[in-house]
């Protein structure tokens, strides 16, 4: 049975598609604009920030030198136009890949939400029992993801074209991002058929995304312009348009072709299975609990395990890759002493390589701390769902105090955050040591990152207070966290007053190992963090349990 017969012979399979499409678009009427504006808005930000960061051609060539290194190519792109680096070439080489990941993630979430999640929760059963064809949901979610990526492409095109860039290249750039999104929407349409659970479907599609990014990374690192490995990757195809350097359109056809093939596969698989079933049956688990599970600490650890593993792997690889750029950065300092001064390295020759690395790379550690801060707030906020879905009531209906239940959940968050910080520092140090041969830095960076633990716990404490006050009121914690991350990362570009810049949460503690250790701020932030954590627990004891 060919795909064509599935679709044409079974027009009745598509009954109700229009309604469901309208319904899904309506459900996503806030989500789609937010994604599109965020993705396009990044370009607006880069357009403003790049001329400040790279004021002259010399500084651009300094950047190009880093991108010529295998570690630079691994993270960014195939490196077209590096010999005469422009902002346009930089967009395609360094930014396109990340935007493509964003649109791919967006598409994966959208498609799985409207297909497998609907089936898993039983909502699809309710709808399928009406006058609705078996392919209506899948078709609606594919139309939805096409529409969403079209909006992303359009906004992105407008954002780029409104800058000082060639219009055809801007279109190729925007189409590249949108088509990668479409390919991964189609990947998710397939994985949603394979497994019974929406989380697994998202995970499988996400793994494919990670794989294709790594494939093009390895290919691009092997040789400038990429090797055959780069050509195995939809993200690679988008970069191979060479937009803003020497534009060619045909690699985008590969994206279109792959998306079409995957959609056909999804329809074929969808036609072969029952509603709610996967192609791969879910495995059975343990009939009895392991002794380690039998405490609120054990349960929270277990519930946090998957997320902790995911974050560990992500931060570890990011750390290795970022650290591996260390050599390039030190090299560029040798060429540009004025850049070195910005990082507090007054005289290159006066310092050993290890010292230069310690000084210059210290500023990077804070970004890992920010990521772990996000993790900690997410981890504490898990309690909201536990409560609204009635599980907290089940637990607190047994012989366990609210102090203990919430306190041990917070303890798990604190331990996980510590592990993630240590892993970040270790992997970053290993990356630096691997690229420079300076092994002495590994231990320094591993321990130095712990200086941020009080700040991370402070944000966990804010989230705990928000939860203790009432279920659902967490927006202000996110506002504070995201605000201090954005101001911390881009503060120098905004010309913030020193009084603000120095008192941002992540700037309160000394930037080890480059800066000198200062006990007072670390102790002060720790006391505030512990106070917030304790306060949140006490507040939770005093309120009604909801749901």
């Amino acid at each position: 049975m060919s795909a064509a017969t599935v679709i044409t012979d079974g027009r009745e399979h598509l009954t109700g598609t229009r309604r469901i499409t309208r319904f899904t678009l309506r459900q996503d009427r806030v989500r789609i604009p937010i994604w599109a504006v965020s993705i396009a808005g990044l370009i607006g930000y880069f357009s403003a920030a790049l001329p400040i960061a790279y004021p002259d051609q010399e500084s651009l060539q300094g950047r190009a030198a880093i991108m010529m290194e295998p570690s630079g190519a691994l993270l960014a792109g195939p490196g077209y136009g590096l010999d005469d680096y422009t902002f346009g070439a930089m967009l395609t080489n360094e930014i396109l890949g990340w935007l493509a990941i964003a649109s791919a993630l967006m598409s994966i979430f959208l498609v799985v939400r409207h297909t497998r999640t609907e089936e898993e929760t039983g909502r699809a059963e309710l709808i399928r029992a009406g006058v609705v064809g078996r392919h209506a949901h899948l078709t609606a979610s594919i139309l939805n993801v096409i529409a969403t990526n079209a909006v992303v492409t359009l906004l992105l095109f407008l954002a780029v074209a409104s800058g000082d860039f060639a219009v055809p290249d801007a279109l190729a750039f925007a189409l590249g991002v949108g088509l990668v999104g479409l390919v991964f929407g189609a990947v998710a349409a397939v994985t949603a058929q394979v497994t019974e659970h929406s989380r697994t479907a998202v995970g499988m599609a996400g793994a494919v995304l990670g794989l294709v990014y790594v494939l093009r990374g390895i290919g691009d690192a092997q040789e400038r312009g990429g090797t055959w490995l780069s050509w195995l990757s939809p993200i690679g195809w988008a970069q191979q348009t060479r937009a803003f350097t020497d534009l060619r359109w045909w690699p985008l056809l590969l994206n279109l072709a792959l998306a079409s093939v995957l959609v056909v596969v999804a329809y074929l698989l969808s036609g072969r299975r029952d509603l709610g079933a996967g192609l791969v049956a879910a495995r059975g688990g343990r009939a009895d609990a392991a002794p380690g599970l039998l405490s609120s600490f054990g349960l929270n650890l277990r519930l946090e395990r998957g997320s902790l593993i995911g974050w560990s792997v992500g931060l570890f690889f990011t750390g290795i890759l970022t650290g591996a750029m260390g050599e390039g950065i030190v090299e560029s300092f040798r060429d540009q002493p004025q850049l070195a001064q910005v990082f507090g390295v007054e005289d290159m020759d006066a310092f050993a390589t290890g010292e230069v690395l310690r000084l210059s790379m210290s500023r990077m550690l804070v970004f890992f701390a920010m990521a772990v801060g996000v993790y900690a707030v997410i981890a504490v906020n898990r309690q909201h769902r536990e409560e609204s879905e009635g599980r907290t009531g089940t637990v607190l209906g047994s012989a366990i105090s609210r102090y203990r239940w919430f306190g041990e959940a917070l303890l798990v968050t604190a331990i996980s955050s510590t592990i993630l910080l240590l892993l970040s520092g270790l992997s970053f140090g290993l990356g630096i040591a691997g690229s420079t041969g300076e092994t002495s830095v590994v231990w320094d960076f591993t321990l130095a990152v712990l200086v941020y633990l009080p700040v991370v716990l402070g944000f966990a404490g804010l989230a705990a207070v928000a939860y203790g006050l009432a279920r659902g009121g967490v927006w202000w914690v996110w506002t504070l966290l995201v605000g201090s991350i954005i101001l911390g990362m881009y503060g120098p570009l905004f010309n913030l007053p020193d009084a603000v810049a120095e008192n941002l949460p992540f700037e309160l503690v000394p930037a080890l190992p480059g800066a000198a250790f200062d006990t007072l701020p670390v102790v002060a932030v720790s006391v505030v963090a512990l106070g917030l954590l304790a306060g949140g627990t006490a507040l939770f004891r005093r309120r009604d349990l909801e749901a």
Binding site: A282, G284, A287, A289, S296, T394, L396, A399, D544
Partner: protein, 302 residues
Amino acid sequence: MSPVIDVRSLSKSFGPVRALDGLDLVVEPGEVHGFLGPNGAGKSTTIRVILGLLKADAGSVTLLGADPWADAVALHRRLAYVPGEVNLWPKLTGGEAIDFIASLRGGVDPALKAELLDRFDLDPTKKARSYSKGNRQKVALVAAMASDVELLILDEPTSGLDPLMELVFQDYITRAKAMGRTVLLSSHILAEVEKLCDRITIIREGRAVQTGTLSELRHLTRTAVEVITAGDATAVATVSGVHDVTREGDRVRFSADDDALSPAVALLAAQGITSLVSTPPTLEELFMHHYGTETVTAGSEA
């Protein structure tokens, strides 16, 4: 002996909504107490206050001789609770969830757990996310029944169970009672409460409207009969214990106490019965007959 649960004039509001309005509930040691009311009457709210999950606005609540808001942990060690809507951790298997929930109040008897899993026909190796509502309810029931506790608080525990499983459930409640345990069983199914409970409290709109033993509430358990006979069926009104006789064309409807059923049917049989339908009273009828129709509308909307 002092009551296991002693609730006096309990009030609880959620914003402008008055969920409980001066509710009284007394559960004596060793009894199976039915807590009956339509959806939205305040049964679950009452139970959650009794457990100390919600704080009472006014009135007094005593659970096993202490204040559940202040002493929740010590008290919960002595009871097991099955919520009306059981949600489990999607990543855990049913067996793990049972062990975890039971461990929080002192652990589970493995032999009893195995027996209950067998009787309730529950596969403990499946991840909780794949369980139906009935199976999630079984997990909470097994965890509760396999625990060594004085008091079982069950909030509509059979709403997801099929009739066969309801029988298993009733069997275990009977056993719990024989072991001297106290049970608070909330339900909106009169027949279930009738079968299991020694005493019943009926609530509507946050207030107890009736409480007593089954025989005290006997009038609530009349059987409704609809009959067509060759002769004049309204003659059945002469039998003592037959009430509310009405005629509509050939059809005669009446309600009868249990003792009156035999003489009533004998009288009708003598006339030659063409058709006879008897139904146990539903909660809706009970509310309609005893508390007026407006109550039912208000109760079902809430």
